[in-house]
Amino acid sequence: MSASVINASSPVVARKDRGALWRAYGLLAPLVVFLVLTFVGPIGTLLWRAVADSELPQAMPATARAVSDWDGTSAPDERLFKPLVQDLKAVSPRDLAAAARRLAYEAPELRALLMAAKREAGDLDGSSARMQQLDPRWLENATWQTFKRASGPVGTYHLLSAVDMKHDYQQGLVAKDEAGLYRSILGRTFGIAAITTLVCVLLAFPLCVFLDRRTPKTRNALLLLILLPFWTSILVRTTAWMVLLQDQGIVNAMLLKLGWVNSPLHLLYNRFGVILALVHVMLPFMVFPLLAAMSGCNRLLVQAAYSMGARPLRVFFQVYLPQVLPGLAAGALMVFIVTLGFYITPALLGGPADQMISFYIAQFTTGTLNWGLASALGLVLLVATTLLYLIQAHLARRSTGAK
């Protein structure tokens, strides 16, 4: 009897639970749908464009099929020329222009080659001799390798370009001609972020110790002073640095007046100005987690170490620092992650040699319209950010869990 009562009551609870669950999903649905449309979709499109290679198959489907079947190492022959001529006769000028632009990313001379072939398409029959007569480059392996790399609909060309590599069908992965351009940009981005993070740690540490030793009332008042820059627009802070650092600016005016320099220093449009402003923008991100770690630190352990005769340096490195390290690391990684994606500050304060990866992504998207490369560089940045964020989240959980 009692068993049947229990059996009768449990479905009621389950039904109620299911109602609560559906209600919860219902509350989440609007935002999830919204973000799928405005965030997941766009990011997915970017990832897709990093591997998509649709211009050539769209304009010249038969050629794209033929080069896919071709092994990439043997000498080009009529199996490639016939579909090419067939496609050239049928293709619309607009599609051909898109395909030519795609081929020109890799080999600029191919644009003219393709356009010349289009003009002569009526006289071509697809024989090797006729192609040789048109332009000997049509018989070269390198020309057709470029076609093969662009034959899509999905390929690794843009992704490999983003790290200055190229897939050569005869030699495997090789470095591209313009060796090291994007790798050096990536290295520069990581370098600027690393220096910014280091300076932030060095500046935040004394500031946090100072704040940690104040009474709660003073500390809250002083925190307000740190929150003000935090709430102020990045653009305001960046323009303020432009005004300060310009040749006739306040910094130079004071240095001249003090007699420390004879002529104004060039502080703007170089690495120094970029890092100075980045540190200024990112410092609050470092201060808050570090201060939290410091106020959660057990002071009695420090006292105990002193009472047992440990020297101040030893107390600092063996007792104090291990306690604040998780908070310090979480803050530093956060600074590093956010700095990696910076665009505005380097664009305004840096010279051409100080631009970070975001600048080139923007440049390729709206300037030179190389969307494949823009997306591939975006993918590299996204992967770096995601990996670092996972580490950061792990550290942040550990530092709050320890308290």
Partner: protein, 267 residues
């Protein structure tokens, strides 16, 4: 011998060093922003010291230029609209996330926070691809949707933490006295989490007001916002009117900061 770390000449010098370096770093944080204020009232063209005579010329330039005024108006209109949208969507989602044992909860949480972490350029490029196909670039609607996306995580986080501090027994008490879930929400939950809603909304507003990267990708000539206008002006040449624009924005920042402090104090 036991050393007392809190007294003696070493400790005194140590304290002095900490105070001195702490104050220097504070000055480094504050001065660049504060210096803008006096410079914006000075008639020195080079925006430098010594300060020239007092003038309101740069403010006159700002408030008499239809370009700057419409940028100011656009910034506000877009920020207000996206804050409203973000508060509604984010508030509802935070209520939904309260369910303790929802399958896929971790995944949904990551999705809702992600716009805060993914670099702005990546979001901007992705939106540029999708929105231009949907005819949303160069429209106010597109800009509002984009800013809402970037602002909504702040609402979810703030309302979520306000809900975390909510006493579950109050909800049970309301239910035990016959209140329907909707009545409980309106009469008990909402009043208790309103500080979280307000501070989330303020964060959302500040995010939209500060946003420039995604705006550069999406906005057309009609959707100039204040940061975008400052960016394009500063890129061409420094002009003192930038200082008055900056001062206006610092004032808004101060206002938002004080409001958010008031909101957290209330909770």
């Amino acid at each position: 011998m036991i050393r007392n770390p809190n007294s003696g000449p070493m400790a005194w010098f140590g304290n002095l060093g900490v105070s001195l370096s702490g104050c220097l770093v504070l000055a480094f944080l504050l001065l660049p922003i504060l210096i803008v204020l006096p410079l914006s009232f000075s008639d020195s063209r080079y925006m430098s010291l010594p300060l020239g005579h007092f003038t309101l010329r740069w403010y006159e330039d700002f408030f008499s230029s239809s370009q700057w005024l419409s940028a100011l108006f656009n910034s506000f209109a877009v920020a207000l609209a996206s804050t409203a949208l973000a508060v509604v969507l984010g508030g509802l989602a935070a209520l939904g996330l309260r369910h303790p044992a929802m399958p896929g909860k971790r995944f949904i949480e990551v999705l809702l926070i992600a716009p805060m972490i993914v670099p702005a350029v990546i979001v901007g490029v992705g939106m540029y691809f999708v929105f231009s196909n949907a005819g949303l670039t160069r429209t106010y609607l597109g800009l509002i949707l984009a800013h809402t996306t970037l602002a909504v995580p702040f609402v979810v986080v703030n309302v979520g933490s306000a809900l975390g501090g909510l006493n579950q027994r109050l909800l049970w008490a309301a239910a035990s006295m016959g209140a329907t879930p909707l009545v409980t929400l309106r009469k008990v939950t909402l009043p208790l989490i309103s500080p979280g809603l307000v501070s989330g909304g303020l964060f959302a507003f500040a995010t939209s007001l500060d946003e420039v990267v995604v705006t550069l990708f999406l906005a057309g000539p009609d959707q100039r916002t204040l940061p975008r206008e400052m960016f394009t002006t500063a890129r061409e040449a420094l002009s003192p009117v930038l200082l008055s624009a900056a001062t206006v924005m610092v004032l808004f920042a101060t206002l938002l900061l004080l409001l958010s402090r008031a909101a957290t104090r209330r909770s």
